[in-house]
């Protein structure tokens, strides 16, 4: 098949989206990280399902627990952002609507990330 790309474009290898395979790659990196991190989270929620406020706070304030949950939220929020971006790009064809939704996706995931890290740090620092 004829290749219509210029030699420079082929060398850069970045394709039509100008970002090459980086979206795919970060979806995988965060997905791999999500496996242990979300399993830890599920285990923790099971352990705390019957916990009182004081018990839940004490567990969440443990440095290992707090750090693991912060990493989990970072990885999950990045993963969600990439995933929803793909869904929007697939289904929304009107250019303006697409741009607005892509922007809202970034706002939503960053706000959720900020809230969860704030909550975890607040508990960890005993506030």
């Amino acid at each position: 098949m004829a290749d219509f790309r210029t030699p420079l474009s082929r060398v850069r290898g970045l394709g039509a989206a100008r970002s090459g395979t980086s979206h795919f790659w970060y979806q995988r990196v965060t997905a791999v990280a999500n496996v242990p991190l979300t399993l830890f989270f599920v285990g923790l929620v099971i352990a705390l399902s019957d916990a009182s406020f004081a018990e839940a706070r004490a567990t969440l304030a443990n440095p290992f627990v707090a750090l693991t949950l912060i990493l989990a939220m970072l990885s999950v929020c990045y993963h969600m952002k990439l995933g929803m971006q793909m869904v929007i790009e697939d289904y929304v064809h009107d250019e303006l609507t697409k741009l607005v939704l892509l922007m809202l996706n970034i706002f939503f995931t960053f706000i959720l990330g900020a809230i969860s890290i704030f909550a975890l740090l607040k508990i960890a620092f005993g506030g």
Partner: protein
């Protein structure tokens, strides 16, 4: 860029509704649906964290809502979404290495998915109830 009349009038290729559903296709769709369900469902998890960071009364309110039967039902659905999506992700990793891409292999892998995800979800909840001793 604005679209020319010729571009706008282009027919779309046949879409989902004309294909016979097969296991690999269904699991691809379910991976996407569970991903989107988790995207919104995670708000519940973060609300719980925020309540724990805020005050005892907020924590107790959220715990009471999540502990109601409807709360438990939603959390059960969310657990299943996560388990299924996690297994789907592992299935993607297997396929990313070039394995299970043939017709039989990919169909077998996809067919196993709902059974394993439902079994694991029930197992997690049984462990959860046993841990509470209730």
């Amino acid at each position: 860029m604005s679209k020319s009349a010729a571009t706008r009038a282009r027919p779309l290729s046949p879409h989902l509704q004309i294909y016979k559903p097969i296991p690999t296709m269904m699991m691809s769709i379910v991976h996407r649906i569970t991903g989107v369900a988790l995207y919104f469902g995670i708000v519940l998890v973060i609300a719980w964290l925020l309540a724990a960071a805020t005050s005892e009364s907020w924590f107790n309110t959220v715990s009471a809502i999540y502990g109601s039967w409807i709360g438990r039902l939603v959390l059960f659905g969310l657990t299943w979404s996560l388990v299924h999506h996690l297994l789907g992700g592992i299935r993607h990793f297997v396929m990313d290495t070039g394995r299970a891409l043939d017709k039989q292999g990919s169909t077998r892998l996809a067919t196993m998915m709902p059974f394993i995800s439902i079994a694991l979800t029930i197992l997690l909840w049984v462990i959860g109830y046993m841990a509470r001793g209730a």
